[in-house]
Symmetry: C2
């Protein structure tokens, strides 16, 4: 008896899934221990999707070249009501009411759900996991985080002997491409973004890539999985890369680091600190070596130390491959309930409380005595200074950077407030503060 | 009803397993969906092992501080006959008749087997897998290849949607430490080896680390898993790092590469080419960036492109963590038969037939015309030259290196034979040939 799969949405990712299921049919049968049958595909434009992905037209639901939205919805409902379907691949996208209803219904009607939809899982993950548990079915979401890197299976079924202390990574290829260009070519953010768009790495509207939103969705998923935290996505401190200047890139280079958009979750006792933001990654950390649109995850465990996984975070077949891996897994092991969310009693704490080394770039008047004023104010907050950069002298200003030993962001904010209050006019702009990842 | 585990052999690795099982008991219960109970530990020196790993003495089988070999064997037999034991961890080591009997008996008596023993699996893997299938039990061997890197689970359950084209990696930390020292400090092989021994990275008898034997065991395991090949370990072409000279390291550096002991398996149509040997890894390949005792695996798939996993390849808790991950997996999913070995009809072919770029170091008399003789002989074999290094002039010799475009080793051997036959005395020693990994 074959394991029957329906694909809802045959765009870039859904098409990749269909293509691999058809090409690898024999090999998948061996791996899954059962025939994996692509039973049906629902898409608004079956003729176009069939041609684009090389999938026979007769595998698509409905007649004609296009379905009306009503017709497509009716086909989706037919799939959900079809008890012969074992697993639904959701590759429609979005996180609105419609897609929540479809995915929840898939589970409630006794089907496994596999999806690459990080926004859906970040915003409605708890609800969907509850629906899966209630129905005794599973959600496969390998493709939702760093597409082709097997990090989800690596965490749920690979590193289970581990006591994970921190997870960090580069989860957004577009922003990493932009930052890589800024570092290697000395480009401004605006020029590097235009370059990324010209090469097809960035969408016409790159907001979610640039502002850390996409990476934040992925981090939210991992925080649930690794630390058992149900973090409201809106509560995750985020900062995008659009604020990163060529000057900061230059100072980072001087101190032996490179700026990356880092997803970061670290456990200290019962507290978890998490954020998405640009950080300076020192060159000894493998994440500093990840250039272009590549993704990477770094896990530090109590027993196994450092594990780094690197691969492609997007693409039709890359994401499709991850979805097919989930299908194989659920065909084999889907009869088991999903593991419970760990209830370790961990709490998300404000990032400002975590001690990290920081780099602070100061723009000041180009007059003697400023470095002393700044360094003194930092010392008054009990912050140890690790290094002071060379001064960059402008026409009527100077820039320099101070790298600190581990301290809290709160301490730094107090030092800056002290300078602004007691030496008004000495800082020409708000200092630029980036955490340093060693 | 708890899932009961027995550990046979409580040395470095077995002790790490016991330690993690006790420390993580509550967290493992959640992950496994069942209590994982450390039922018993058998070791020749229970008192010493208990103290060293912080494991209560009463978990060890037998009385007194030491067991005689006969007493220990009797305790092992008692474990094998105990139907309440669900899983046996074999951390005794060796690949002789005794350990084959114990591991096969564990499976035949209806227990899962988890082991870090790469020699055992390389030499007797087929027999043990057959015993597991016959008994409806599973073998967990995550720890046998690159200890803490979840590559086995990553391949059996993570990248199953993938059609893997090649697998390469650094699987031996000792040899990688030695080669890293040679590259960064300019040390000779002998000095770097002594350094590794002084730091505890190399055994008093480092033969299996140095000659590629240990890495070869691991590659044999992966060739079975990825390509379905039952390669007799003796048939795997191997070359150790003891032949690598400081001169070769220098030439590799000049061409933008670094010498690593590489495990290599590549599929071309129905052929698989596999070897363990020093190769020059170009700096664009992430494997070139893996220094010290770290391990790494690079997988290239048809759909997902490149995936690289990096982590610790040895150590008590690092290896123990991987074994505990296998225990958790089998506690959850052990009721399912192991996936069949893929029977793709692939064949291991002689490495000499595979086209690779090569670097060839020639030691010649320091007289005009030699470069022309060598380059002409290479051209006559239809080999394109990529680059010729600077000459190193010795007191009465010269060394230079020629990097080729992809060609077969057979072509190179013919070119060398041609030079030796037609220009006797021009080559002062056998040319040193290393494949280049791009």
């Amino acid at each position: 008896m074959a394991f029957r799969v329906a694909i809802l949405g045959c765009g870039t990712v859904g098409g990749g899934v269909a293509c691999i299921l058809l090409e690898q049919r024999e090999s998948l049968r061996v791996k899954a221990g059962d025939e994996i049958e692509l039973a049906t595909v629902v898409d608004l434009f079956p003729a176009q999707a069939a041609e684009r992905h090389g999938v026979p037209r007769d595998l698509f639901a409905g007649d004609g070249d296009e379905l009306t939205p009503d017709e497509a919805n009716a086909e989706v409902d037919r799939v959900l009501a079809d008890d012969s379907i074992d697993l639904v691949v959701e590759t429609i996208g979005g996180s609105g009411e419609g897609i929540v209803r479809i995915t929840r219904s898939a589970l409630e009607s006794g089907k496994h759900l596999v999806t690459a939809n990080k926004a859906l899982l970040a915003l409605h993950g708890e609800e969907l996991h509850a629906a899966a548990r209630a129905a005794g079915k599973s959600i496969g979401y390998e493709a939702s985080v760093t597409a082709a890197i097997p990090i989800i299976r690596g965490l749920t079924d690979g590193l289970t002997g581990e006591d994970i202390q921190s997870i960090s990574g580069i989860f957004n290829g577009t922003s990493n491409f932009i930052l890589s260009q800024m570092a290697s070519e000395g480009q401004s953010f605006e020029d590097a973004l235009a370059d990324a768009q010209a090469r097809g790495y960035a969408e016409a509207d790159p907001t979610l890539d640039i502002n850390g939103g996409d990476a934040g969705h992925k981090l939210t998923i991992l925080l649930r999985l690794v630390f058992g935290l149900d973090v409201a996505y809106a509560d995750l401190p985020r900062q995008g890369i659009d604020t990163v200047t060529a000057g900061e890139v230059d100072f980072a280079n001087e101190m032996g680091g490179v700026i990356k958009l880092i997803c970061f979750g670290q456990r200290e006792g019962d507290a978890v600190y998490a954020t998405v933001r640009p950080m300076i990654v020192k060159r000894g950390n493998l994440l500093s070596k990840i250039d272009g649109a590549t993704n990477a995850v770094r896990i530090v465990g109590r027993y196994a130390g450092e594990n780094v996984m690197i691969g492609q975070g997007a693409g039709s077949l890359e994401t499709g491959s991850a979805i097919v891996s989930d299908i194989v897994f659920l065909a084999r092991y889907g009869g088991h309930p999903m593991p419970e969310r760990p209830t370790s009693g961990l709490k998300l704490r404000p990032l400002g409380e975590l001690e990290l080394p920081y780099n602070i770039v100061f723009e000041t008047a180009d007059v003697p005595g400023i470095t002393g004023i700044v360094a003194t104010a930092i010392g008054k907050q009990d912050i140890n200074i690790d290094s002071v950069s060379h001064n960059r002298h402008g026409s009527d200003n100077a820039e320099f950077a101070i790298a600190t030993m581990p301290c809290t962001r709160t301490q730094i904010d107090r030092a800056v407030a002290d300078i602004q209050e007691n030496h008004p006019g000495s800082l020409l702009s708000e200092p630029r503060v980036l955490p340093i990842l060693v």
